[in-house]
Subunit: 221 residues, 2 copies
Amino acid sequence: MTVGGKETPRERYRAQVRAEIKERAWEQIAAAGAPGLSLNAIAKQMGMSGPALYRYFAGRDELITELIRDAYRSLADTIRTAAASSADLAGLGHALRTWALEDPQRYFLIYGTPVPGYHAPDDVTVTASEIMRTLLDTAQPGGNAVVTVDDGHPDARLEAHLAQHRQWAADHPAQPAALRRALRFWTRLHGILSLELAGHFTGMGLDPAELYDNELRHLSE
Amino acid sequence: MTVGGKETPRERYRAQVRAEIKERAWEQIAAAGAPGLSLNAIAKQMGMSGPALYRYFAGRDELITELIRDAYRSLADTIRTAAASSADLAGLGHALRTWALEDPQRYFLIYGTPVPGYHAPDDVTVTASEIMRTLLDTAQPGGNAVVTVDDGHPDARLEAHLAQHRQWAADHPAQPAALRRALRFWTRLHGILSLELAGHFTGMGLDPAELYDNELRHLSE
DNA sequence: TGTACATCAGTGAACGCGCGTTCACTGATGTAC
DNA sequence: TGTACATCAGTGAACGCGCGTTCACTGATGTAC
């Protein structure tokens, strides 16, 4: 057990091997997708026998769960850093796209096709709401600071709905207009990103970045 | 071989069994996702031995390919029918959502996480462009019939790009504004739909339909 | 209408494979006196 | 500093499993004369 900041050599070694296992796992996911992840294959690639990995992970499921956790953490860190340095939605958007392009399968591990049986570990919801919180922080200061609902504009209905259904932003002071912008940021950018990463734009002859920037421009104004 | 419209009893039987195999395949995909599809499991469920399926499909890959083809076809038919009966983007949007909710895994087979090695059969691109064509037909008649580019509005840059990169709409007379609307329809609705189908809204306490309708309203105006 | 032959759906055994996982064991590393 | 013991990383054999796929074969259905 680690006491305080002290780390025994054995613990350091353990941490290193664990890290390498995860690295190889990511490589394998990048090469064949998450369903093709195999403990034995990882072990072979590391020059070890299969059962050795059980010293580090209880089994395949625990490894995948850990990878999902890491993916969420990495995204949350990226978004938080971007928010701290640029502090507008455009900055967040670019950081998100860069992060996604860096490792498409990592993106898909979070936002891709769900496996019908599987349920992500509960604690990722904490990280997920951290991401939402950062998004709301950045979406908040934007122009529309109207508290009274203007029945005329086309978003009135949505904002009324959001005002009454905000469990996901329960402890955040953001106003309906900010909630709306944060959600749009999320859904619209995900729309383009996931299609781009899946290759649906290839062969169409247009530049995904152009579409993406255009959406960002709409979100920021 | 079928000559003209004539069909021998044997051919009818073959077609029926093929159809049942596909049905079971869809059930299995719905239950465990596409990677979990197994020929032997399908055979067992139909009360046959595994090798029997090789009379109907050359192998697992051909079956999956066939399912992808069917999924595209089904979507194209749905969109075409909706376009014929309602003829506006809102109608198409609702038809799309209904179709997706009907069988989420079918949606994901087209728009979900791609398997790194696999490449969809070439002929689905034909169906894919049929879908795009219908979309463009419906996006066209809308208000913005300006041919000259207005440098002031925020979509000017995107429309200029689209005017010069339109391989995907090569033989369609749609103007830049219509191209833009069709693409937005696609990316924005996909953004919400895929998040909804993957369950990312559950636990947030808001109604995906409300978000979806809001986007549709923006697209139609 | 009846017989001879061809077609073809489906079976059962078998092959080789890689998977996740368990278990008893070896040998190296660290700890206590 | 040296010895006795405990901890723990990694091995190799083994288990049971389900997979895709092949092959030689049986038996039913259709076709030709």
